[in-house]
């Protein structure tokens, strides 16, 4: 394996995170912005799972694998990623609920047109 494949998955996570941040900063639509936030979060999934990978490893489930017969990937990061997914889903739901109300009260979902709170 070359040096590149040893860091590539991590670099993918970095790329995804930065792409999400760029989208969030330049977004012209709040629903798009909520999507961008999910992209940032997807970077954390990629990074967590990449960190836990082990060469040749299989899922850490022993219903059809005899313990010790094969290497398994790190189960802890999988549990962390599961928590992360739930957190992401709930945050997205709440954000979308707020966007629904913003659309109703302001009549727009363009952040450029929201100018109530300044200074």
């Amino acid at each position: 394996m070359t040096a590149l494949t040893h860091v590539l998955p991590y670099l993918v996570a970095v790329w995804v995170f930065l792409a999400g941040c760029y989208g969030l900063a330049t977004s012209r639509d709040l629903i798009h912005a909520v999507g961008c936030l999910s992209v940032c979060q997807a970077a954390t999934y990629v990074l967590l799972l990449a960190v836990g990978y082990r060469d040749g490893g299989t899922a850490p489930v022993f219903s059809d694998v005899t313990p010790g017969s094969r290497p398994v990937v790190d189960p802890v990061v999988q549990a962390l990623a599961l928590t992360d997914v739930v957190v992401g889903a709930t945050v997205t739901a709440l954000l979308l609920a707020l966007v629904v109300q913003v659309a109703k009260r302001h009549g727009t979902v363009d952040p450029d047109e929201l100018s109530e709170l300044r200074g």
């Binding site: 394996m1 494949t5 040893h6 860091v7 590539l8 998955p9 991590y10 670099l11 970095v14 995170f17 930065l18 941040c21 760029y22 900063a25 330049t26 990449a50 960190v51 836990g52 990978y53 082990r54 060469d55 490893g57 899922a59 850490p60 489930v61 022993f62 219903s63 313990p67 290497p71 398994v72 990937v73 790190d74 189960p75 802890v76 990061v77 999988q78 549990a79 599961l82 928590t83 997914v85 739930v86 957190v87 889903a89 709930t90 945050v91 739901a93 709440l94 979308l96 609920a97 707020l98 629904v100 109300q101 109703k104």
Partner: protein
């Protein structure tokens, strides 16, 4: 100016993260001390699915927080998406559904529901568990919306019991944890039940109990969350909008219905 800030900040962050990545242990490396300990601990408690053991036994306290986040999101979105004083409910119109869609939905609904329950029940043995199965079960109910219409879904899904069940499921997770404390060991300790036979349904001690509580919590939470958004899309209109609707209906019955049908399709897609 914002683009300049993004460029400066993004470049700095990118440089920092790339430099960090180059110092990370190589992808696929063999050093996972916590992971190795977790596998051992899972096996010692007869849990075939190590991820479930981490989620519901070793780090069950994390899962308590995770469940509370979901619970809070449900409470929060019920509050945020409530019907405000200047809004009222419009009765959803029955919508025509093409026959193949209806047949498919009604056929798949019980299968999907059963799959969800299966995934919840086998969390300690095979990949899956309360979170995954709960989502499958909750979305299964919404096939009714695709196959029939919103009113059929509302009949099957009176919200009050689902909200109550969501809260009760959260309490039962807590009570299971407290029971361990009262029994003389620590909060959320997996000491109440025998660990059973490896790789069977009755294994892993309290993991299946917590799993079931989470499954119920997630299923109810997803139902209530989706209901909040569907209500906004289908039922709740504010006064001005309603008047327009009425005029529309007065103008031509068919026109109004077609618009409604469009609404339904739209939110149906979102629900999926």
């Amino acid at each position: 100016m914002r683009l300049w800030l993004v460029a400066v900040g993004g470049a700095g962050l990118a440089a920092l993260l790339v430099a960090a990545c180059l110092r990370l242990p190589g992808f696929g490396g063999d050093r996972h001390p916590y992971g190795d300990r977790a596998v051992e601990a899972a096996l010692s408690r007869h849990t075939a699915n190590t991820v479930s053991s981490v989620t519901f036994d070793q780090r069950a306290f994390d899962t308590l927080g995770e469940m509370s986040i979901l619970f809070a999101a449900v409470l929060g979105s019920v509050v945020l998406l409530r019907q405000t004083r200047d809004e009222h409910r419009a009765r959803p119109e029955p919508a025509a559904v093409s026959r193949p869609v209806r047949r498919y939905a009604l056929l798949v609904l019980p299968v999907a529901l059963l799959t969800g329950l299966y995934v919840i029940a086998h969390g300690q043995v095979s990949p899956g568990g309360g979170f995954q199965g709960g989502v499958v079960a909750a979305t299964a109910l919404h096939l009714l919306y695709l196959g029939a219409d919103y009113r059929a879904l509302e009949r099957l899904r009176p919200l009050a019991p689902y909200e109550a069940a969501d809260a009760l499921a959260a309490s039962s997770y807590l009570v299971t944890g407290l029971a361990a404390l009262l029994a003389g060991s620590a909060f959320l300790a997996n000491t109440l039940l025998p660990y059973g036979t490896f790789n069977t349904l009755a294994s892993a001690g309290t993991v299946p109990l917590l799993n079931a509580a989470i499954g119920m919590e997630v299923a109810c939470a997803v139902v209530v969350l989706l209901a909040g958004f569907l209500d906004q899309a289908v039922e709740i209109v504010d006064e001005g909008e309603h008047d327009e609707h009425a005029e529309h209906d007065g103008g031509g019955k068919t026109g109004g219905n077609a618009a409604d049908g469009g609404d339904h399709d739209d939110s149906g897609k979102r629900g999926k």
